[in-house]
Each structure stands twice: as structure tokens, then as C-alpha cells.
């Protein structure tokens, strides 16, 4: 299948090489894919976006976007991509409509010409079209920024943490919009929220400038090598400490109202855990579980540490 983005041995450092932002990254994003970069602050997501959007130069390696070289063909790439940076970057003192008009004009087009692409989102903004962008709520700002990134009908859309700091309901709405756009455009999106990973076609789990794993969310989950069991008791804070004291435990962390306990297959059973914990814990409960992306991410982090 045709690649929308091709990345080969991309390396980027700061502070004269002391800080490695991207550590020889390699991957491809296919045309029409909704591709997720999943990782916390400092993983290297923004550095990668800035190189791909031709704003920064890599120390070494190369990359293409829409078949064009990010160094040689930077001008043409800028015409063909949409970029929504992590920081809100529209003009706060222009109205909703003025911002959108401005970006359309920059790309030598008009709102009318590409209205069908942004219509779905813009109708939600239309009641506020004369309001200044700076006076919009967080969720509305995101929607406007997305419209402005789309108004010139880009081939590839770069969204850098579009949902950070946005409440769970607005996050869900934003992802519903992305799913609808996906049929018409290649989208690469970064997020620190692990639950959003499952909404992507393929994801790269990033940490400390490296890609720990890259695959479909389902295959990443299928590759989880250990056994996982959920536990809770009335003394949760002490339960974490007590379980970590046990031998052959690879990880024990809170997940909502349970702890997820990770160990090699067969190292523990529910019965043996009960025996080990029942003297110090009341209302001890177990629940069999299958791992989620967050479990996978944490297991990978610990094996890379």
C-alpha cells in the first residue's frame, strides 16, 4: 500500500547531543490511515511532528510526506498538509469566521470551496461565528483549530495532542469527528491518553524518543506476554505495597477501583494470592482481566527501563 509518510532513521538531539529527542525512528503511515502516536510528555511526539511538518531539521535520517522530501520539498509539503499544534495557535482577537477566512486565504482558497470537508464541524461553531476565538471554551477552540487545519483540503493532517486538557466528553466528540474525516484524509494524531489508542488503525507506543512497539491496537494487546489479574481490598494503599513485596511480581499498579497485578504465566494463582494476602486484608476480591493498551504500555516501559 502507498505510504503517506515514510520515516527512515530519524534522529534529533538537543543541548549538543546531550538530550536525545528522537532516537533513530523508523516507520510508515499508510495512505488513508488514522495513525496514533501514543506517549507521555517528553516521548518525542512533538519533535517528530515538527520535523515532518518541515519546521525543524533532523540531525540525521530522512522522511517523506505525501511522497515529498521534508528538507528538499518543504514548500510543497506545506501546501499539502494541515497542522494543528499542541498549543492553541489561532488569532485570539479575530472572530471564529475571520480566523477561518484568514487560513483559507493563506492557502489561496475560500471557505465555500472546501466547505463540505469542514461542514460537520463548522455547523457546531456557526452559532458563535462572530465571537472572538480567545473567548471560546476549550472544546470549541479545538473544533475551530481543526477547521482551520482542514480548510485547504490537505492530504495529510497532523494533530499534536488535540485533546490534552480537554474533558472526557469533548474528547469523545473530537474523536467522533476524526473517525468521520478518516475516509478522506490521512491523519496522524498524538495523545497522552491511552484510551484513545484503541480508536486508531495503528499506533506507535513512544517513550523517551524511542518507539517501543508499533502495530494495530489489537495486535499490541495480543502480544502481551504476561498474566494479569485484578485485585482489590478495603486497604488499597497497603495492598499495593503488600503485593509488591511478594516474589515474582512484575508490576502492581492502580487501575480505577482495582489493582492490576502482572506476573509470568503460572507464577501465581488467585488461590495462592488469597493465601498470601488474606491475613492483612478484608473484602479481598479478584477479577480475571484481559490487558488494555495502558497495561501494555506500562509493561513495555518497565522492560525498557
Amino acid at each position: 500500500m502507498e505510504s503517506a509518510i515514510h520515516i527512515h532513521n530519524l534522529h534529533k538531539t538537543f543541548n549538543k547531543g546531550k538530550l536525545v529527542a528522537l532516537d533513530n525512528i523508523n516507520f510508515d503511515v499508510r495512505k488513508g490511515e488514522l495513525f496514533g502516536l501514543i506517549g507521555p510528555d517528553g516521548a518525542g511526539k512533538t519533535s517528530l511532528f515538527r520535523i515532518l511538518t518541515t519546521l525543524w531539521l533532523a540531525d540525521s535520517g530522512n522522511a517523506t510526506v505525501a511522497g515529498l522530501d521534508v528538507v528538499k520539498d518543504f514548500k510543497e509539503i506545506r501546501r499539502r498538509i494541515g497542522y494543528m499544534p499542541g498549543k492553541f495557535s489561532l488569532y485570539q482577537d479575530l472572530s471564529v469566521e475571520e480566523n477561518l477566512n484568514f487560513f483559507a486565504t493563506l492557502f489561496n482558497t475560500s471557505i465555500e470551496e472546501n466547505y463540505d470537508l469542514v461542514k460537520d464541524i463548522y455547523v457546531q461553531l456557526e452559532p458563535f461565528k462572530s465571537r472572538k476565538a480567545g473567548k471560546l471554551s476549550g472544546g470549541m477552540k479545538q473544533k475551530l483549530a481543526l477547521c482551520c487545519a482542514l480548510i485547504h483540503k490537505p492530504e495529510v493532517l497532523f494533530l499534536d495532542e488535540p485533546t490534552t486538557g480537554v474533558d472526557p466528553v469533548s474528547r469523545k466528540e473530537f474523536w467522533e469527528m476524526l473517525k468521520r474525516l478518516q475516509s478522506r484524509i490521512t491523519i496522524i494524531v498524538s495523545t497522552p491518553y491511552m484510551d484513545e489508542a484503541t480508536l486508531c488503525d495503528r499506533i506507535a507506543l513512544m517513550q523517551g524518543g524511542k518507539i517501543m512497539q508499533l502495530d494495530t491496537p489489537q495486535q499490541i494487546v495480543d502480544r502481551f506476554a504476561d498474566e494479569l489479574i485484578a485485585v482489590r481490598s478495603e486497604q488499597m494503599y497497603h495492598l499495593i505495597r503488600d503485593i509488591r513485596e511478594l516474589p515474582d511480581i512484575k508490576g502492581c499498579y492502580g487501575f480505577g477501583d482495582y489493582l492490576h497485578v502482572r506476573f509470568a504465566h503460572g507464577a501465581w494463582t488467585q488461590e495462592r494470592l488469597t493465601v498470601a494476602l488474606k491475613d492483612r486484608h478484608t473484602l479481598l476480591e479478584f477479577c480475571p482481566i484481559t490487558p488494555g493498551i495502558e497495561d501494555c504500555f506500562m509493561a513495555l516501559m518497565e522492560s525498557h527501563a
Partner: protein, 250 residues
Amino acid sequence: MHKEGQIVISASELTKTFGDFTAVDHISFEVKKGEIFGFLGANGAGKTTAMKMLIGILSPTSGNASVAGYDIYTQTEHVKQNIGYMSQRFSLYEDIPVIENIRFFGGIYGVGAKELKAKSAALLDKLELTSSAKTLVRDLPLGWKQKLAFSISILHDPQVVFLDEPTGGVDPITRRKFWELIYEAADRGVTVFVTTHYMDEAEYCDRISIMVDGRIAAMDKPAILKEQFQSPTIDAIFTQLARGAKRTAD
């Protein structure tokens, strides 16, 4: 256990209006000593405004509240001396060393010079940062930064600590280790008032409230709320309540 029932935060019909807009609409609640209280709500629901009133930097329009035993209208300076505050956005000065951050914030919170010296040393020792005392905060790994920021916010032994989205953008392991620090502080009797957009973190709280359109739409222990709403997760309850919201602006 320190949960003997002493009320540390008490709000009654607390209200704030800006012109004809009611940001916080008659909210009432109490938080007990050593409790972890999760304060949830969509963007624009009124969380920040409510929190600003409780920490003594915004005067209410009507209603009453006291924090750590002090009135939030008339004793705001006492309120500020008896609380800690940490947010994701601003918690430490990145371009000064660890030890100077500790001294600076300790000084701001009124910890005496002699006591501050002892406390700084104890804190560095506890966080295993003694050898990094002169490291600039910006050069610390994220997990250490978070630990340091939280520890500094409770350096002056406040009765209550307010945490405003303390874990945004943090990796999943650091995020959980951070919550273990919160548990530890609560276990020592510090009352914790925390906002978050991570719904799994809501489950770590003793009690939570969910704000919608300036009011508290639901408030109880997470397990009881899930039973009440017949819902397996807090996320689902939050979505159900917030989708009914009338206002969308911040």
C-alpha cells in the same frame, strides 16, 4: 487512621456570578480530615472558579465556606497559610536548582529559616535527591519533578492540599506513583482536594463530586455512585451527566 470526622473544608450555598452568568451556583459540601476528595466536571462547569474561592483568591458572590477552619471572605491570608497548592502548569521554577525551589516555596509559605533548613535536608533525603540538590529542576526526570512539586506543596504541613490536574500529560507509571504519594499524605492526615480529567483516577478518591453547569450534579463514594447510576465506570456516569449540560463556554 485520621478520619475521625473533623471537617476541614465546608461550603454552603457557595455562589459566584460574573454579570448575569452564574459560574458557581449554590454548591454545598464538606470534606473531612484525611479524605481524598475528587472534584470533577467538564471544561467550563465551574471547577476552577470554585477552587479559586476555596483557596482565597476570589471572593464569592454569596454563600459561605471555610477552609482549615478559616473563613474564605474575611480570613483569606490564614486560608493561604494553611493550604498547599499544586497545578500541572505551574508548580516549580524550572531554571533554578532543586534546593532553591525548596527554599523559595518554604519561604513563601512562611516556614522559619531554621526549620526550613532541617526540612529541606529531610525532604532531599526522603526523595533521594541529596546528590541532585544543585541540579536545575528542568534537568530532572518528569517523575522526580512531580514528586518534588507535591512534596514542596506540603512542606509547611498544611491541613489541606489542592491539586489542580496534577497528572496531565504524565506517563502511566509516573501518574500512578504520584497517586501513591497522595495516598501516603492522606494516610498521614492531610486532606486532599484534587481535580482530574482521568476518570480512572476518580476511582482512587474516597469521595467525588461531579459539577455540571455550576452545580454539583452528583456526589458520593465512587462505588455508591456506580450503584446509584447502574454504571460500571465513573467515566460513563460523567459522560451521562456532562452530556446533559446546557452551557459549553469556559
